[in-house]
Symmetry: C2
């Protein structure tokens, strides 16, 4: 047992502050559980005024990350600056210096996780990243440990709090996307300058790529992961979905599909009774299906300073135990395989769609013909509304290959009797 585990934190922003906070505030319970004091010896941040809200010895602050990376007293480097550069270089340097690394950097792991894990494996050090998905929710470690004996067939998550907050508000208050986004920006739930990483599904894309790699023991090429955001969701679709017994969520979906994987992020209709349907506001949840465990779900705050700090501190404690027991490397990379990702055109799912058509006899027959010609079969159809000479109709298909559905929708959009294909959204049952 080392009496002291030395920690260096790079980046004292939101998550860095939460991490420092929990390590300081709960230091005695942490020490009691792992048998060593965890001591933050150095913190690097380019802003010399970082961490103003926290009471700590500011003499450990530096603007030079090398004081951590090359510091012989530091056992664990905690990278919390985000992004690829210079985070990746910092982490690789820490590893080559024999240090263990904890990060919450989803973009870096999604893009370069395998490479970093390989380096960590060669050097025999630990690289942990629980905080990169689902904030404080334990999901990565449970997948690697408690659920490890299962063949996982499905991981479906609400993994972006901003979009879940926006969709929840739109659902409860019947308001437009743009209006609710502006409010979320004011409230600090969405980025002011450029909210696209959240609302276009890119943040969720990183996260599901990470989860899929662990769940399916395969490398994942991020480029192959489809992402579609919530900017085109209208209150009308939300309302019609509800009438059909569904709620609209931005889902991050990973499914085993024979030897391949489906990995995709898009708005989705899910049945009101599904456990993910009642996950609201900024909460996240990850639903996992395995061959023996059946379905389990992990729910909690998917972001934020303190919850993510909790996850980072949990990782630090795991590594500290490994240091004390000489068992670093005991949870190595498990991406043994290189499964292909099914291209979106080949994905088979159901679709909800809404369109404006001329309100006269024969129109439905011509639409039905196009669907039939493309092997799309309709499960239900409702006429919702009259707008001038047009009728608004809503349809839900049976399962169909996406390429066929898209071809059908394109042809239908060109029919003279169709004024507008207003929207279409995938459905998960």
């Amino acid at each position: 047992m080392k009496s002291r585990i030395g920690v260096g934190i790079i980046g004292l922003g939101t998550v860095g502050s939460g991490t420092l906070g929990i390590l300081l505030e709960n230091s005695s319970i942490i020490a009691q559980k792992i048998g060593s004091r965890v001591e933050v010896l150095k913190i690097a941040d380019l802003n010399p005024h970082a961490g103003q809200g926290i009471s700590f010895d500011r003499s450990i602050l530096t603007t030079d990350a090398r004081e951590i990376l090359d510091n012989p007293d530091i056992d664990i480097v905690v990278e919390l600056i985000g992004g690829i550069h210079p985070a990746k270089d910092f982490i690789l340097r820490a590893i080559s210096n024999g240090k263990h690394v904890v990060t919450a950097n989803k973009e870096l792991i999604a893009k370069h996780g395998s490479e970093i894990l390989d380096e960590a494996g060669k050097r025999g050090v630990d690289f942990y990243f629980e905080g990169s998905v689902g904030g404080g929710i334990p999901i990565i470690l449970p997948l690697k440990t408690s659920l490890a004996a299962n063949k996982i067939s499905e991981v479906i998550g609400i993994v972006n709090g901003t979009t879940n907050y926006i969709l929840t508000k739109m659902t409860n208050e019947g308001r437009d996307f743009a209006e609710v986004l502006a409010e979320a920006q004011d409230a600090g739930y969405a980025e002011k300058v450029d909210p696209s990483s959240d609302v276009e599904g890119l943040d969720a894309r990183y996260k599901i790529a990470i989860l899929a790699a662990i769940a399916f023991t395969s490398r994942v090429n991020l480029e192959d992961v489809y992402a579609e955001g919530i900017t085109r969701i209208s209150p009308k679709d939300i309302q019609y979905a509800r009438e059909l017994g569904y709620v609209i969520k931005l889902l991050a979906i990973a499914k085993q599909n024979h030897a391949r994987m489906e990995i995709r992020v898009h708005p989705t209709l899910i049945p009101l009774g599904h456990p993910l349907a009642s996950v609201n506001d900024v909460y996240n949840a990850i639903y996992v299906r395995g061959d023996f465990v059946h379905d389990v779900m992990f729910y909690g705050r998917g972001a934020g300073s303190l919850p993510t700090g909790s996850a980072v501190a949990g990782d630090i404690m795991e590594i500290a135990r490994n240091i004390n027991f000489g068992s670093t490397g005991r949870l190595p990379c498990t991406c043994f395989e290189r499964r292909e990702v099914v291209p979106m055109e080949e994905v088979v799912t159901k679709y909800y769609m809404r369109m404006l058509v001329a309100d006269r006899p024969g129109v439905l027959a011509s639409i039905a013909k196009v669907f039939g010609d493309n092997n799309v079969s309709i499960a239900s159809m409702v006429q919702k509304d009259l707008r001038g000479d047009n009728a608004e109709i809503v349809m839900v298909t049976h399962k169909v290959v996406e390429a066929n559905f898209r071809r059908a929708i394109a042809s239908i959009g060109e029919l003279a009797v169709v004024a507008e294909v207003s929207s279409w959204i995938r459905v998960e049952d």
Copy 2:
């Protein structure tokens, strides 16, 4: 790395079969992840015809557990016979023989967990029991690892599938307890001969005692844990609760209360919006609140052969990693403290109550006086029904000390104008 980890299973009943099934069926994914084959070398069961549904080499079956406990090839003993005798002796013998132990035996852990963990600690072997709470749901390992840096203030669970199934049916179909219980017994969801362990809350009591010990790093004396079952819950209370915005669940509650702990099992009204409120049928869920992670919830199948087998196999893999890395003992007992359990009379909570009173002026004033005299303050009151000369009224109190509430209710029951105190149920917000 050992090429082979030898496992012996004692008890080839429901959970034993699930465990054997997952170890056999997913043996290659398990071996790939831990770097060793996990091989079941012996299975002991008093019934020589056990495990008929599973395809395995029946020559490894024995009726004599000593062939496992004293077998030098066996690294991990899996105890799945349940109960105290002879399970406890088997486990202690395995430990003294230097073997690691996995069990799902909630009664044994709740009653003798500290003693067994002490022995395991002395001998440097692992004793894991993820399957004892929540079936396949990862909860014990996450509490000990991912969430370990938090001070936990609250663990609230729906940890008994039978009672949750019964309450869900009663809620959805407005039917009586006795009727639904009989149906659950026919369907195999409740014990035929004596369902009392489930419906009287005893099963949940074991589980919350285990969770409290881990969450609050304290020994728990099972005798101090209050348990009340669901046998007196009526469809009427469920309906009135719903009208007030609540659902009735059998909750297992553990709360930090200054230096002490509250640990109790009882039917409880929880708000419809609470994440536990939509946990239905045989599903379990455990809600945890920590100072940094805030609230997280773990949801899934709380029992059954395959889900519990998944948890047992996850434990076996964790121990196998420890064997391979020489790190057994790295997650020791963390019951450092001996916190007291708050006696029920001192618990402060809200109450729902239903009573029949004479329908005439002055009645409410006399009831209100009794409440006032006992420091019970009423948050809301509704008159529900007239039955002959009597009015049925429903009240919800503000927070009050249980002793005061019970004293008030006893006095009210003796008032001449009160025909009946029909029911009272605690409320959690």
